[in-house]
């Protein structure tokens, strides 16, 4: 399977983006950087929601270049927005089916499997107004997966949640990470989250990629402070690995 290559350049208001990147076709790549560095803009460019000049090819298919701009509804991406953004007029089931019934792709990610993976069985008939923040984000994630994406984009899905809701949803994300067959880009500036969920990390600063993708698969423990090292060891123990 081929990689995801992109380059975007352009100005939006007072902010300018000039970012080139290559993503591996598997695993979760974290996109990290200070706020206002262009993380969300880059993600929106990949989804086709923001149009800047540049190129983007995913698995050998051109989504954007000098001549082509594939509109967002034709791009097989799943997007999880920072604030879930569930469709308020539809039930949980309606939200999940919205993309599922419109995608031209053969369903690889099954409805029941996704419901199981994210623990949504008891929520299907509720409306978004009657869900907690963590539940909403789980529905948003399932909804994105059920649109059968070839690339999953997540824009700080945990940042709007309180500590309790974060703790509740993280195990689901870790489970997703283990079973996910498609590549994902995960925006976060929380090093703990990145260590738990990402395989690689990409840094962006002032609209430009400054480092990465750096592999996190075998993290070198030098350079990490003691607390971080302990946390990683603990995470490894929990995951059943010998430190």
């Amino acid at each position: 399977m081929k990689r995801i290559c992109g380059r975007f350049a352009g100005a939006l208001g007072g902010f300018s983006l000039n970012a080139a990147f290559v993503l591996e076709p598997t695993g979760i790549t974290a996109l990290s950087g200070p706020s206002g560095s262009g993380k969300t803009t880059l993600l929106r460019c990949i989804a086709g929601l923001t149009r800047l000049s540049g190129e983007l090819s995913v698995g050998g298919e051109v989504w954007q270049d000098a001549r082509t701009f594939m509109p967002p509804h034709r791009r097989p991406v799943g997007v999880v927005f920072q604030d879930a953004s569930l469709l308020a007029h539809l039930s949980v089931r309606g939200n999940l089916e919205f993309g599922a019934k419109r995608t031209p792709a053969k369903p690889v990610i099954g409805f029941d499997d996704t419901i199981d993976l994210l623990g949504l069985a008891s929520l299907l008939s509720r409306t978004p107004a009657h869900l907690s923040g963590g539940e909403r984000q789980r529905v948003a994630l399932a909804r994105a997966l059920l649109s059968q994406p070839r690339l999953l984009l997540m824009d700080e899905p945990l940042s709007s949640l309180d500590a309790g809701a974060k703790a509740e949803i993280l195990p689901y994300l870790e489970r997703l990470h283990r079973s996910l067959a498609i590549p994902a880009l995960y925006i976060s500036h929380d090093p703990g989250e990145i260590a738990r969920l990402a395989d690689r990390v990409l840094y962006i600063e002032q609209g430009a990629i400054t480092a990465g993708p750096r592999d996190l698969a075998s993290p070198t423990l030098e350079g990490l402070d003691a607390a971080e090292r302990d946390r990683l060891a603990l995470a490894a123990l929990r995951a059943g690995l010998q430190p």
């Binding site: 927005f81 469709l87 007029h89 919205f98 993309g99």
Partner: protein, 221 residues
């Protein structure tokens, strides 16, 4: 008496239906990306609120009279004039109530924001599909408000219908015009009955509107 009520209700229903269809694309376009010159169009569509009905009626009458450029366009289709016809009244009422349709729908689209349409796009819905399956249902209260306002406003119009309709019984005579004529000819009993009916109807329409607004507020909370 029944005839005039029927004409009025037919006019109000038809105006409401056609105006919702016409106002939706205008409201959608106005709610889109901001540009100062869009407010020029917004001002034009709002103008009927502040123009005296006689001014509006005068220009409308000129526009639908036999020698007007508009009728010139319609002439090949066998239409010579729309002045003093029911069809002319529908057009006049649509112009007269345009702001009452555009404003609530535009506000509803603006309150929705761009996000739901982006969500729909990332879930593979093409723009038109997304409009009907996401934007319309999410803005339904704006449409309901617009429908009630336009219907009630059309029932209440007087100056414009008198000028371009002429108050021909069975064709273009509506309740408000009939009341005026009844009072002119000192038939106070009939005038009372019709006037009271309009008061009760208008009260119910406003009550409905306020209840819709209340439900919207509760939904937001």
């Amino acid at each position: 008496m029944n005839e005039v009520v029927w004409t009025t209700l037919r006019l109000a229903s038809l105006t409401t239906l056609l105006l919702l269809v016409l106002a939706t694309p205008i409201a959608w376009w106005l709610a889109g990306r901001r540009a100062w010159w869009k407010e020029v169009i917004a001002a034009v569509t709002t103008l009927p609120i502040i123009l005296p009905p006689s001014v509006l009626g005068f220009y409308l009458l000129i526009a639908i009279a036999p020698q007007s450029p508009l009728m010139g366009v319609l002439h090949p289709f066998g239409v010579r004039t729309l002045a003093f016809t029911f069809e002319g009244l529908v057009i006049g009422s649509m112009v007269y109530s345009l702001p009452f349709a555009v404003q609530p729908i535009r506000s509803a689209f603006e309150a929705m924001g761009p996000r739901p349409m982006e969500v729909a796009a990332t879930l593979r819905a093409p723009p038109l599909d997304a409009f009907f399956s996401v934007a319309l249902p999410l803005s339904r209260r704006g449409f309901l408000t617009a429908a009630i306002l336009v219907f009630a406003h059309t029932i209440g119009e007087f100056g414009v219908v008198l000028m371009i309709g002429g108050g021909i019984p069975g064709k273009t005579e509506v309740i408000s015009v009939r009341i005026y004529e009844l009072v002119e000819s000192l038939q106070y009993g009939d005038a009372h009955r019709l006037a009271a009916g309009v008061v009760v109807f208008s009260f119910l329409a406003l009550l409905g509107l306020l209840l819709v607004a209340r439900r919207t507020d509760e939904a937001v909370k």
